[in-house]
């Protein structure tokens, strides 16, 4: 009898634990939206999202986050352009070209790359890429291109990890089928294996986009942080994430609410990206 009751109690405990995640996400949504949406309504959603002036300390102050939205988008696109091809091809290397002995070293290396703290990446870029950029383009060297390069490197492990596992899950019979027709290893990989792993590779890119758009501490050190729509690739840039981190320390009242609202916009971006990711994953598991 006693054992039976314990079984029941523990099952309850397990279910309760499982519901904590659900509770957390609900709380996060409620508090983020409650903290940011009222301000957006009051200030005007259009003015907030599409205003190109961010000057919280002016009177009257203006809170347009278009420069940050564009900043995030530009920087992310740049990171994708740099990181995705390298990442996917590295995944191809890992899955199809890498000798097993080398793989034993490189696989943990990609994991390590994923685990290096953002702040270390940021500091590295600040010490190395920024001065190079300063020589190359003038100015402070803290600009959009610097951020793109750094984020391009930072999304590599995300892209590599998922792409590699989807390449590896392609049935080996496709490979032998193509080789038996006299195709080379390279052609087989490019024309048969990669197309077959397409949805996994796309998912990896989406996750990479999520990582790039959400990255904060690395970007804040090197992007220049001017809240102005960047005019060129070597202009300074401020993203949604860095906008929050930069000013939260001293913001109060309306300003603080505007920063939380910035967080809401970022959050919605992430939810959309994640929704897309889940959709692809679901489609894949059905096929």
């Amino acid at each position: 009898m006693k054992a039976k009751r314990l079984e029941g109690v523990m099952q309850g405990v397990f279910l309760f634990s499982a519901l904590i995640s659900v509770l957390s996400i609900i709380l996060i949504i409620i508090f983020m939206f409650a903290g940011g949406v009222p301000f957006m309504m009051e200030y005007g959603i259009v003015d907030f999202l599409f205003g190109d002036r961010w000057s919280p300390s002016n009177t009257p102050s203006s809170f347009g986050i278009l420069p940050m939205i564009l900043g995030s988008i530009f920087v992310t696109i740049g990171a994708v352009v740099i990181g995705v091809p390298i990442g996917i091809l590295t995944a191809v290397f890992m899955a199809e070209f890498c000798p097993p002995k080398l793989y034993k070293i490189l696989k943990p290396a990609t994991n390590l790359m994923a685990a290096i703290p953002s702040i270390v990446y940021g500091f590295f870029a600040l010490q190395l890429i920024v001065p190079i950029m300063r020589n190359f383009s003038g100015g402070t060297g803290m600009n959009m291109l610097t951020a793109m390069i750094l984020l391009g490197i930072m999304i590599l492990p995300t892209v590599i990890g998922l792409s590699e596992s989807s390449l590896r899950s392609v049935p080996r019979s496709y490979y032998t089928g193509s080789m038996a027709l006299g195709a080379t290893h390279e052609r087989t990989v490019m024309k048969v294996i990669m197309p077959a792993a397409k949805s996994g590779i796309i998912s990896s890119v989406i996750l990479g986009v999520g990582r790039a758009i959400g990255e904060t501490m690395a970007v804040v050190l090197i992007a220049g942080n001017q809240p102005i729509i960047p005019q060129s690739i070597t202009s300074g840039v401020r993203t949604l994430t860095t906008n929050i981190v930069l000013e939260m320390a001293y913001a109060a009242g309306e300003h603080r609410e505007a920063l939380i609202a910035t967080g809401v916009v970022l959050f919605v971006f992430i939810l959309m990206i994640n929704g897309l990711f889940m959709m692809i994953k679901r489609k894949e598991s059905k096929a």
Binding site: S173, Y174, G177, M179, L181, A183, K191, V192, A196
Partner: protein, 250 residues
């Protein structure tokens, strides 16, 4: 006349010797069947004929395999051309996850055919030769994975034919199929020998006796007996062969 001659061939996977002193003549425009119990070396040998064994790590070969009198294991052999000339159909139908058309066109494109009209012709001819044209001609853009297993296998045969091979290797091509699909493939194979030299591995003794002209019986990595199929099935020379074809083991 021999299309392929195998001369005193030994093959190892690492330390394990899978084939011992195998010699065999494979005649042109006829069907040769490899039979024998699992693990006897018949699949290993068929995979050596287009050097698919190269893909297996630790695989080592001694002896000669001559295709039209030329040693295919010579260092200056172009493996990709060899595999174009010696096509292969696998046990499990393995169409690529693309349209039927692209499956068939994959091989010719691999070997440099770009012209759209030429590709169209090759696709149609290959599908006709594989006796599946009438079933799929309106669905060429359909994903090849969406059709039935028997149809998929004929697509794979068509895919192999599209690169205009001289020899067609079939590694248990019907073992994953239902009886009706199997009958269709067997019928197709007998038609194909007009143009191609066919080597077929099979588990199914009836299939070997129905379809093939020559049979080689494998056991533990040795060819125990080979020769005319009818003779071998009615009057086997070796005791082991008799035991096997009468179903006493394997």
């Amino acid at each position: 006349m021999s299309k392929i001659s195998i001369k005193d061939m030994n093959l190892w996977y690492g330390d394990f010797q899978a084939l011992h002193g195998v010699s065999l003549e494979i005649p042109q425009n006829e069907i040769t069947a490899f039979i024998g119990p699992s693990g006897c070396g018949k699949s290993t040998l068929i995979k050596s004929l287009n050097r698919m064994n190269d893909l297996v790590e630790g695989c080592r070969i001694e002896g000669d395999i001559l295709l039209d009198g030329k040693d295919i294991y010579k260092s200056n052999t172009n493996v990709n051309t060899l595999r174009k000339d010696v096509g292969m159909v696998f046990q499990q139908p393995n169409p690529f996850p693309m349209s039927i058309y692209n499956n068939i066109a994959y091989g010719p494109r691999t070997h440099g055919v770009k012209d759209k009209k030429e590709l169209d012709e090759i696709v149609e001819k290959s599908l006709r030769d594989a006796a599946i044209w009438d079933e799929v001609k309106d669905d060429l853009n359909k994903n090849a994975l969406s059709i039935s297993g028997g149809q998929q296998q004929r697509i794979c045969i068509a895919r192999a034919l599209a690169v205009q091979p001289e020899v067609l290797l079939m590694d248990e091509p019907t073992s994953a199929l239902d009886p009706i699909s199997t009958a269709k493939i067997e019928e197709l194979v007998t038609e194909l020998k007009e143009k191609y030299t066919i080597v077929m591995v099979t588990h199914n003794m009836q299939q070997a006796s129905r379809v093939s002209d020559h049979t080689a019986f494998f056991f533990n990595g040795y060819i125990i007996e080979s020769g005319d199929t009818r003779k071998m099935f009615t009057n086997p020379k070796k005791k082991q062969t008799e035991d096997y074809i009468s179903g006493r083991f394997g």
